[in-house]
Symmetry: C2
């Protein structure tokens, strides 16, 4: 994409993460220019390699979350495997793992041990519940963190909970992990020291509750599914003559734009003039507004709303999203050449840097594809590599 | 919380963001040690100041998303206001804004102008649709980005769409913005140059679609609400004798743990042994599993599951979350002293740094609370400040 260097060019990351959000975190470090060595269990590999959909023997979900990485097989349950890991970590800048704290201890990859090996090393642990507290070793996945952070309790409609299908907790923790690593790198340039960066799915979820946390912390009342529509008016899905659209036009200026766009006199009534007034007279306002929106087709409304600056949108499915001219023109559908799959389509980067762009350099690796290349770079000769292989270490 | 310096100690951020995700981004920069000067329109201020719930005249949602900031009123629609801003930016390291690209041009705060003023300045734009492409000036808020990224189209149940009430697009963009700024700071230490960091709610949403993007990009089929439960089995909410719990135990190892924990022979059948087999025989498996879970109370199941390592959890409401011993013991419920509100409860940090901890130093500011203090530091004398005030510039 560019021959400029990424912000993390020259940084070596050893990545012992599995599944979704944490491997996404290390992919982001790779996107930013770091070299990422992905450690996987011999023969088994990252669980994500088996996630649907599987295309030509590879998980497409794995392929789009593990670019810019090299794969090394290494059995960390054996002492000889750990010795290889330690050799990598002596030279590495960053180590990222997502095992439970007790598993990190069992595998001898806890921060206390690793910091002695290399005091400049930044260790990032992405776990369900963090490195401390009574739940620290409780088994966690995205849905578990969503349930225990209250995220599920506030989502759904009319008081009935329905969780989102987006792995919000997992990805939030992943992005926070990347952020934490870069902040620690920045800090290391001044202090000369690495540190431990502790990120949890639970804490990550809590920080993005937003206004719903505001409601509980400010009033002591737990919000319920559908409450957001009661305090932000109008907010949500509305029917039109043909298909539903979303409208979020609750601010002072946006409400005026909406009223002008719809052009119906009764909406100008004093009883709907302020957010508080709309909340109070919601039972009258919403059905009336819904009835007006039913009178025109979605395309008509969206054109009027766009012209008047009313925040509104169609509900696109993923095919419509990825074929949208805006996505194509702005590079949101990126392609990479893969030796087995040919042109792989993937989601482009979230951040665009004018000076040090993100680059997609390596397609997702096969299991253990780079074991020998990397081990030889770290001083292992052919005989030693052969021995490690025959012992099931790599 | 600590007298160690944060990773961004010494960094000066000028913050022209409003509402939720972007002010959260600059709060994060403040949490990490930066000094953050929040620019607000005189008399009006950030819209978030009016968001529910309002307690003693202040929005609690504002209070928990604007700590570690100083507030300066400044009318950027007037040339004299811009001149003050430019004076701040000559000394600043970072500028963050979340207006539309055309508004940035109108206000003369676009990157091209600002980079001439201070080539070391890092400018971060957090917008709905990014700095380029046909939708760049389309009005956007969280729900709009969720609709246009496909996020809403995949959430809900049994094919019916129901958006999450979490402002996922807004917060994802906010956290990416912080990440981008720190990466640019790290890079600046090597290149000597600032750059433009362009983050959009739309792109941020697309990158966290996860497996659902995998399904579309790998097969060309757009996933529908409820599909995730069909490919990850078991995944979701299950009824018990008293109240619902969540279970996500679909991996090879976790499935075995679940079968052992429930202890029912028919679950060991070959037809449920692999993820693919469970997907195929889902119509038989799920109702059977649901019937078994109905036989015991939630607390019983959760105790059994925790002991066996099955990922499962109660669906906590926010009161249960914030009163949970784990949250209290690990500092997830932080308190800050506020001159007007006394002890303010807020959500603790998502990231814990062992060496350079996050600190909560300043409570959210009143509108314009620090205007005179900051202006005097930047060389404005009393007379000049008085003149700016009488002209409605500050």
């Amino acid at each position: 994409m560019s021959n400029k260097l990424g912000p993390l060019d020259g940084i070596l990351v050893v990545d012992f993460t599995r599944v979704l959000g944490p491997p996404y975190a290390t992919q982001l470090l790779g996107d930013l220019g770091a070299e990422v060595l992905k450690i996987e269990m011999p023969e088994i590999g990252d669980d994500l390699r088996h996630f649907a959909p599987v295309i030509n023997g590879d998980s497409y979900t794995f392929l789009i979350h593990n670019r810019n990485k090299k794969s090394i097989t290494l059995n960390l349950k054996k002492e000889e495997g750990r010795q290889v890991l330690y050799k990598l970590l002596e030279k590495a800048d960053v180590f990222v793992e997502n095992v439970k704290p007790e598993t990190a201890e069992e595998l001898h990859i806890d921060y206390r041990r690793l910091s002695k090996l290399n005091p400049r090393l930044i260790c990032c642990s992405i776990s369900g519940f963090g490195q401390e507290g009574p739940l620290k070793n409780y088994p966690a996945l995205d849905l578990i963190a969503q349930a225990m952070s209250g995220m599920i309790s506030v989502s759904g409609e009319d008081g009935r909970v329905i969780p989102t299908e987006i792995a919000v907790a997992d990805f939030a923790a992943g992005i926070y992990g990347t952020l934490g690593v870069i902040a620690a790198l920045y800090s290391r340039d001044r202090t000369g020291l690495g540190q431990h960066v502790d990120v949890s799915l639970l804490r990550s979820s809590l920080t993005i509750l937003g206004q719903l946390a505001g409601v509980y912390l400010g009033t002591g009342r737990s919000p319920r599914p559908g409450d957001k529509k009661k305090i932000i008016i109008p907010y949500g899905i509305f029917e039109t003559k043909d298909k539903p659209i979303v409208v979020e036009s609750a601010g002072v200026v946006n409400w005026k734009k909406l009223v002008d766009a719809i052009g119906i006199e009764w909406l100008r009534d004093e009883k709907f003039a302020t957010p508080a007034a709309r909340a109070k007279n919601r039972e009258e306002l919403i059905p009336g507004l819904q009835a007006e929106l039913k009178k025109k087709a979605s395309a008509e409304w969206l054109e009027i709303f766009a012209k008047m600056g009313v925040p509104s949108a169609p509900i696109l499915d993923l095919k419509e999203v990825f074929e949208h001219p805006h996505m194509i023109e702005t590079g949101m559908v990126a392609t990479m050449e893969h030796p087995k799959h040919g042109k792989l389509r993937m989601v482009g980067p979230a951040i665009k840097f004018s000076g040090t762009p993100i680059t997609f350099r390596l397609p997702a690796p096969d299991l253990g594809q780079h074991t020998e290349e990397v081990l030889s770079r770290f001083g292992y000769n052919k005989e030693e590599v052969g021995k490690l292989r025959s012992q099931g270490i790599i």
